[in-house]
């Protein structure tokens, strides 16, 4: 009540004031506004709980990221509330906006201040948080959830179990797949899927028309690479960032070849938009939606926008074909990369560990989980194998392309090493290696050596600490 009155006063006084306002009037108005504000502060400051529950009710706090599709958040929120109701808790779900980097800043502040919520996803710091004893081991829940829906995907086991114990429940994978304009590829005289990387480049050369700002290949080279591009290519060339023992092998000859091949697309063949070296995260999304580029590698957000019709190109959905990176040689085959990081665990210092586990059980129960995957609009693919039998994945044309061709071969950035805090740090440096070659004229070998040394020194930091 008082709140509304204040808002009106505050809104009206400065903007509706007559033009030639005298100093006295201005000051008087300012004083009115100020007084109203003071009143509002005095009335409002002490109330900090928004959830409409009896004051005595216990509250569980949960942080999720704000997904590009708000329906995922709505669903998570609603089901978390349902879960809480059964056990007499209010669940306060906050959808935190911002990118991974901003979230990292927020997470570290909350960790220092001791205000981490009961349930959250540490994202980039997942390995660190598990190893530093910040997450509660939840093996029982892990097993129950796995048994309920056909078992966990091996990638989930690799990333969210530590020494045989489950710590976090994977909400699903965001595999990066290549969106290809089937119509343009056919017009240029090629067929899909591309037989190998060379054929893809041949299409790129054929289609690219720089004067018209049209490019055959729409790959990213800066910070927005997020490992979706260089990493699968390193695998396709027979390399990897780490070996099975966990040693850093970023500067191996195979990886250097992969970087050389990849940056040649930009510097020699000129089949990617020049701006790709400093695209923000959304650069390739926008390129594909506007028709500037004929291929783009990304998790499902592009596809979701295509489905939504946020594009001037008619029937773009029907013109879109989804595939993994083409193979380089038949022995190694096509390669795919998953975006990691969306797994939820329980704060070890939570006052209500049992209740938090109940909430997780509910959110990962078959019906709730499958509905969450559907809400994901091809951004999320199940971490639980049983969910793939749902018609949403087995019947939709585009989801099937991903399920059949991408999901079986996808890996995380640490592969084949066991994930460790420094293996996920590699994420920042792949894109940087690309831009070092393109912008600073480093050789591929020098750029990979630099990335190698940086990841090695990050490992040093962790091992010495």
């Amino acid at each position: 009540m008082a709140e509304n009155v204040t808002v009106n006063e505050v809104n009206d006084s400065p903007s509706s004031a007559p033009k030639g306002l005298s100093r006295r009037q201005f000051l008087r108005n300012t004083a009115v506004v100020a007084g109203a504000g003071l009143l509002a502060v005095a009335c409002e400051a002490p109330q900090t709980v928004t959830v409409e529950v009896p004051a005595e009710q216990m509250v569980l706090r949960m942080w999720t990221t704000r997904f590009f599709n708000p329906n995922i958040n709505l669903h998570l929120n609603e089901e978390a509330q349902n879960a809480g109701r059964e056990i007499g808790f209010a669940v306060d779900v906050e959808a935190i906006p911002g990118g991974f980097q901003e979230f990292a800043a927020k997470l570290s502040a909350a960790a220092e201040g001791g205000t981490l919520p009961d349930i959250f996803s540490p994202q980039l710091a997942t390995q660190t948080f598990m190893r530093d004893g910040r997450m509660l081991p939840i093996q029982e829940v892990w097993d129950e959830v796995g048994d309920g829906l056909g078992g966990w995907h091996p990638t989930a086991e690799r990333n969210f179990m530590l020494e045989g114990t489950g710590y976090m429940l994977d909400i699903g994978f965001a595999p990066a797949f290549m969106h290809i304009r089937e119509d343009l590829v056919k017009e240029a005289g090629f067929s899909l899927p591309f037989a190998d990387l060379d054929e893809m480049v041949a299409f790129g050369l054929e289609y690219t028309n720089a004067d018209e700002n049209l490019y055959g290949l729409g790959f990213a080279y800066g910070v927005s690479d997020d490992l979706m591009h260089l990493q699968p290519l390193m695998w396709a060339f027979g390399g990897a960032a780490f070996n099975e023992e966990g040693d850093i092998t970023i500067d191996s000859p195979e990886n250097i070849d992969a970087l050389q091949w990849y940056t040649d697309l930009y510097t020699v063949h000129e089949v990617v938009p020049p701006a790709a070296v400093n695209w923000e995260g959304g650069g390739n999304n926008q390129g594909y939606l506007t028709g500037q580029i004929a291929t783009a590698v990304n998790p499902g957000s592009i596809l979701a926008a295509v489905r939504r019709g946020d594009t001037p190109i008619e029937d773009l959905l029907d013109k879109t074909y989804l595939a993994p990176w083409p193979q380089r040689t038949a022995e190694i085959g096509p390669q795919a990369q998953t975006e990691a990081g969306q797994a939820f665990g329980i704060n070890k210092e939570s006052n209500f560990p049992d209740a938090a586990q109940d909430v997780l059980r509910h959110l990962w129960s078959p019906d709730v989980y499958i509905k969450m995957m559907q809400m994901g609009q091809s951004y999320l693919f199940p971490a639980l194998m049983g969910a793939y039998e749902d018609p949403y994945f087995s019947e939709d044309r585009w989801n099937r392309q991903v399920v059949e061709n991408v999901v079986p071969i996808m890996r995380d950035e640490s592969w084949p090493a066991t994930p460790a805090p420094w293996t996920s740090m590699w994420l920042t440096w792949a894109g940087r290696a690309c831009s070092r070659v393109i912008l600073d004229g480093l050789s591929a070998a020098e750029a990979m050596k630099e990335a190698h040394d940086i990841v090695a020194s990050a490992r040093e930091d962790f091992l010495s600490g």
Binding site: V7, V10, N11, P14, S15, A17, L21, R23, F26, L27, T30, V33, A34, A36, G37, L38, A40, V41, E44, A45, T48, T50, W63, T65, R66, F67, F68, N69, P70, N73, L74, N77, E94, A95, I96, P97, G98, E102, A105, K106, A109, A110, E112, G113, G114, T115, N213, S224, E280, G281, G282, N285, L289, T290, Q292, N298, S301, D310, T311, P312
Partner: protein
């Protein structure tokens, strides 16, 4: 008038007109673009050939602001106003006290304190946020409007003190002395004589404090969790969803957010100038 001067005069007019035309184009075009973007249909935003006009203005983006789940844009607006006004009052009161003390009273350490206040303004904000968060968490002020008001005061108080000290120094001491001879106490003279004369400076300090708190993003992001205390810039950030940029909603929200700040500057610009120049120059 000599022919030379006439020629010079014409040149001046032409050059001035051309210059103003360039400046105004540069100023107004981006502004026009964001207004236009907020009224366009989303499919007209992601296009390769820019569209400079729309025949079918739509309110989709504005509606999107208020219907986005979890966003509570109207609550964020209220929070932004409360926090900006609260921080303004708090810092103006504190800065007026300190400004008066530094400009009008003689006590040991006065010069050094004045310097210290100014240098406090130079501390890079990037240095402070983790310690500030820990402090706020300790006193349970995370995710409260009051917490943000306090934190914003850490930027606005040093600036306000510096500005008001200069302003008070420029108000002739004789006026105050006369009042005291007439029987006023020192504080009475301040309240009756000095403060009213300093009102443009105080208004300027208030405008600076308000806009800083109104626009601030990073501390608000770190220090808030819920619609309890989140501000409008945080709401806007939620339209950059990982790699998806909702240009329409971003433009609409950014535009709505700009209104109070722009209005305040238009109404108060002469105080800003007067305040910054210590009253030496009236705006």
């Amino acid at each position: 008038m000599t022919p030379g001067l006439k020629w010079e005069r014409r040149l001046k007019v032409v050059a001035g007109a051309i210059w103003m035309l360039i400046v105004l184009t540069c100023v107004l075009f981006p502004t026009y673009w964001i207004v236009l973007a907020s009224f366009k249909h989303p499919k007209d935003l992601a296009v390769r050939i820019p569209i400079f006009w729309t025949n079918e203005p739509t309110l989709i983006s504005y509606r999107g602001l208020f219907t986005q789940p979890f966003l509570h844009f109207e609550k964020l607006t209220f929070n932004s106003l409360t926090i900006a006004i609260g921080a303004t009052i708090l810092s103006v009161v504190i800065a007026t006290f300190a400004g008066l003390a530094l400009a009008r009273l003689r006590f040991p350490g006065r010069q050094r304190l004045g310097m210290a206040v100014f240098f406090a303004y130079l501390v890079p904000p990037a240095l402070l946020f983790i310690p500030l968060y820990v402090m706020m968490a300790t006193v349970k002020l995370v995710d409260t409007r009051f917490g943000l008001i306090l934190v914003y005061s850490s930027f606005t108080v040093p600036f306000g003190v510096w500005m008001l000290r200069g302003y008070f120094q420029n108000i002739p001491v004789e006026l105050e002395e006369c009042a005291m001879i007439d029987g006023c106490t020192r504080v009475g003279a301040w309240v009756r004589i000095v403060l009213p004369l300093a009102s443009p400076g105080i208004a300027a300090a208030a405008i600076f404090a308000f806009t800083l708190a109104w626009n601030e993003f990073f501390y608000a992001y770190i220090l808030t969790e819920t619609a309890n205390a989140q501000t409008m810039p945080i709401g806007l950030a939620s339209f950059i969803q990982l790699d998806v940029y909702r240009w329409g909603e971003l433009s609409a929200g950014a535009l709505l957010m700009a209104i109070p700040a722009v209005a305040l500057y238009f109404l108060g610009q002469r105080f800003v100038v007067a305040g910054l120049t210590g009253g030496a120059v009236k705006g």
